[in-house]
């Protein structure tokens, strides 16, 4: 097995839409057209050079069976090898890396899209649940997540103030990210007093309903070299699935520990807290950020309260503002990868982290984060 440094695969470009609560003026294939076109323009790679495309989307969110059919044309899939991953966008990136690393393709275009505004979250996310026992109870993702939040906060002694602090920080950071959906200088009180969505989860402790798409281009070493500092190298991959939500302890994430372990070993990382400069973690809810930071071993030497209080001591986490400020399901993980790419190639603009050589992107899927993906990336200068 080789899920790391000798893959010779780089990300050479990326594009995102602005994330918005309802892009009612555009169909989802038009969102994809926007990002693919921008990606081709900025990289100078022609569609005719790209023979492999991986898209990530979810039929249940799109209300359309084989939802990738609608984007096939705009991703250049006509008579080409497009494939669709029905999971988080970071899974599409992982498969894209395998395609390029196999030597069968010079480039692979990776795309994720979703318009959450067009569906109803209760029946859609409710369809993830056990059909025999749980669905009749009326469960959905928000309900299960609120139970997880309660469990996690109680087990670690994390207060609502702690979580509001995290949300406050991310919404301030999002103001420096032009693609972000929701930003602002909210006070801890404002966040805590925002409307209750479910249990202890308040509106400003959860990512809003979001529409958007993003795309990135993977290239083999030979092609990637000419992109110089705009090439960011894939250094390690990991993916893992946990037990079904009722069969595990929701206060930890064994699957993320496992996925991260795989990616770290491949990338030769033994102390992620010290070695990683920037991490984009898929945390749609405030409580998920410390939960996943623990599993990623980004807070190893500190108690989680200290980590929440002084977040910049280790790697910069979610300098983009993160998913709590608005990214749609399925797109979230690929957005994280794109943000890490922008940081490591020095293109993050106002939210650029200094001296970012090694970065980590995390994606998750399923009830209470059952499936996790991790990609470790290295900047061109860190490779040399």
């Amino acid at each position: 097995m080789n899920s790391g440094s000798h893959l010779d695969v780089a990300i050479v470009g990326a594009a995102q839409t602005k994330y918005e609560s309802a892009k009612s003026h555009l169909a989802y294939n038009e969102l994809v057209y926007e990002v693919v076109r921008e990606l081709l323009e900025t990289t100078g790679v022609k569609m005719a050079q790209i023979h492999s495309q991986i898209t990530a989307s979810q039929d249940m969110y799109d209300g359309k069976t084989i939802s990738s059919m609608s984007v096939n044309e705009v991703v250049g899939g006509y008579l080409k090898s497009e494939c669709k991953v029905a999971a988080d966008g970071l899974q599409a990136l992982l498969y894209g890396v395998a395609r390029v690393a196999s030597g069968a393709f010079d480039y692979t275009l990776v795309v994720a899209h979703c318009k959450e505004s067009e569906g109803k979250p209760h029946p859609i996310t409710g369809s993830m649940f056990d059909p025999f026992v749980e669905r009749p109870l009326g469960l959905d993702a928000m309900l299960a997540t609120s139970m997880q939040a309660e469990r996690y906060q109680t087990s670690r002694g994390i207060t609502d103030d702690d979580l509001a602090t995290i949300s406050q920080r991310r919404h301030r950071q999002a103001a420096r990210n032009s693609f972000s959906q929701r930003s602002g200088d909210y006070s801890v009180e404002q966040i805590k007093n925002s409307p209750v969505l479910m249990g202890r989860i308040h509106e400003l402790l959860a990512g809003p309903t979001s529409d958007g798409a993003c795309a990135l281009l993977l290239a083999r070493a030979n092609e990637a070299k000419r992109f110089a500092t705009k090439a960011v190298w894939v250094a390690g991959l990991g993916n893992s699935t946990d037990a079904y939500w009722t069969d595990r302890d929701l206060t930890e994430s064994k699957a993320l520990q496992d996925a991260a372990g795989r990616a770290y070993r491949a990338a030769g990382i033994d102390n992620p807290e010290k070695q990683i400069n920037v991490a984009e973690v898929s945390a749609r809810f405030a409580f998920e950020e410390p939960l996943y930071a623990e599993a990623l071993a980004l807070s190893k030497t500190k108690k989680i309260h200290e980590w929440i209080a002084s977040p910049d001591a280790g790697p910069s986490v979610n300098p983009s503002g993160g998913a709590i400020t608005g990214n749609p399901a399925t797109v979230v993980g690929l957005t994280r990868a794109i943000e890490v790419y922008l940081q490591l190639s020095g293109q993050a603009g106002e939210h650029q982290v200094e001296h970012a050589g090694l970065g980590l992107a995390h994606g998750r899927d399923g009830i209470c984060g059952q499936n996790h993906s991790v990609v470790v990336m290295r900047s061109n200068s860190a490779v040399q």
Binding site: M1, N2, S3, L7, Q58, D59, M60, G63, K64, T65, I66, S68, M69, S70, N72, E73, G77, Y78, L79, K80, S81, E82, C83, K84, V85, A86, A87, Q91, Y95, V97, A98, R99, V100, A101, S102, G103, A104, I124, T125, S127, M128, F129, D130, P131, F132, N239, S240, T241, D242, A243, Y244, K254, A255, A259, R262, D365, G366, I367, Q370, N371
Partner: protein, 387 residues
């Protein structure tokens, strides 16, 4: 250059219309267990699992996460695919690329569908564009009826010739212990007497709806030599899509640009110049009798308009020059998330020589295809030779 990849084992359920005795989780294990046993592997020996299913058909989102224990996914890498009729071949292709890249050495591919849990044709109606197509679409059947009409007009094939395809399939199915429909006594007259369900398609011309699962073990060259005396090597993989809208892909079945493109690329990669002579067997995703005839032409088994003659002369029958679908094909079994994977599994079985009553003699080279929404075509060449 991609590293060499081989199939060393396969497993299937006994496919049927309604598995009321098991749930999805339990059904999956019935395919995985024999595949692992054949390869003499434990689930812990598999580096990763690629898994395919059409979620809207059963109305489960992420059924593979609910069923994680069934496919040994706990703390193991996986990817989930949902690409319509091609799910099974998309899943196999992913397993192929992961092994070819050296990322994993042993990958289990699993495809499943339990259609009796949901309503497939309702979900297939949402394949159409909501503004332009949905109101005039009627599941898979309406689509194939339009395509078959065009093909008949273009090629002059007859209903009797289509009926012969059905008879071949269902009689072959009787030799396959996993096949859903098994009709050893079926005649052309029986097919011609069955009800027209959407002109020109009769009930017997169309595939059934099945519950079932398939599992395939794909491994690297070093592992293949340890695990199997006669592995089926994957020599070439190709995928091609059509345009999204029906109107943009005229004569979709009669001139399947995607299948022509995918198979020609495939033959080039595998060094095949005359598929009818050089292939020993084909397992194709045919869905309807008329489609199989059109596919003969598009895959280069015969010249344009000659498909009817191919079946009249028995070329594609068992014992013919190029047997097509010894398993009985999709006309006997269609458990969608597994169907295209079954094509690859059955082609591998032929190459490995483990086909029992459905085995074609002396198979060296086999073709397997997947077909799905947008006339999406996947194609594979399997060989008994690693070079």
């Amino acid at each position: 250059m991609p590293q060499k990849v081989a199939i060393v084992a396969t497993g299937q359920t006994k496919h049927t219309s309604r598995r009321t005795d098991v749930n999805q989780r339990e059904m999956i294990t019935e395919a995985i267990r024999p595949a692992l046993e054949e390869a003499n592997l434990k689930i812990s020996d598999c580096d990763a699992v690629m898994i395919g299913n059409m979620e809207p058909f059963e109305g489960y989102m992420f059924p593979e996460l609910w069923a994680v224990e069934a496919w040994g996914g706990y703390l193991k890498p996986s990817v989930k695919f949902n690409t319509g009729g091609t799910v099974g071949t998309s899943t196999i292709a992913a397993a192929y690329y992961y092994v070819a890249s050296g990322i994993y050495d042993v990958v289990l591919a699993v495809g499943f569908e339990k259609q009796s849990d949901g309503h497939t044709q309702t979900a297939i109606t949402t394949v159409g564009d909501p503004v332009w197509e949905r109101s005039i679409m009627a599941g898979a059947l309406g689509n194939f009826a339009v395509m078959a009409s065009t093909y008949i007009h273009e090629s002059g094939v007859t209903p009797e010739q289509a009926a012969k395809i059905v008879v071949k399939a269902r009689r072959n199915g009787a030799n396959n212990p996993y096949a859903h429909l098994q009709m050893p006594e079926l005649t052309v007259e029986d097919v011609m007497k069955s009800d027209v369900i959407a002109f020109p398609i009769r009930r017997m011309d169309m595939c059934p709806q099945s519950d079932g699962a398939c599992a395939v073990v794909l491994v690297s060259e070093a592992k293949a030599k340890k695990l199997a005396s006669k592995p089926a090597w994957i020599k070439a993989v190709a995928t091609a899509h059509e345009q999204q809208y029906m109107g943009d892909s005229p004569k979709r079945l009669a001139v399947m640009r995607s299948q022509i493109d995918a198979t020609r690329r495939l033959y080039n990669m595998a060094g095949i110049t005359n598929p009818r002579n050089e292939l020993d067997v084909a397992e194709i995703y045919e869905v309807a009798s008329w489609a199989e005839l059109a596919m003969y032409e598009n895959m280069g088994f015969c010249a344009r308009g000659e498909a009817g003659r191919l079946i009249d002369e028995g070329v594609t029958e068992m014992g013919g020059e190029l047997p097509v679908n010894p398993s009985g094909g999709v006309l006997c079994t269609n458990c969608i998330g597994a169907t295209a994977m079954i094509r690859v599994a059955e082609a591998a079985i032929q190459v490995m020589g483990t086909g029992g009553k459905r085995q074609v003699d002396n198979v060296k080279t086999a073709l397997a295809t997947g077909y799905g929404g947008n006339a999406w075509c996947d194609a594979f060449i399997l060989s008994n030779n690693s070079n």
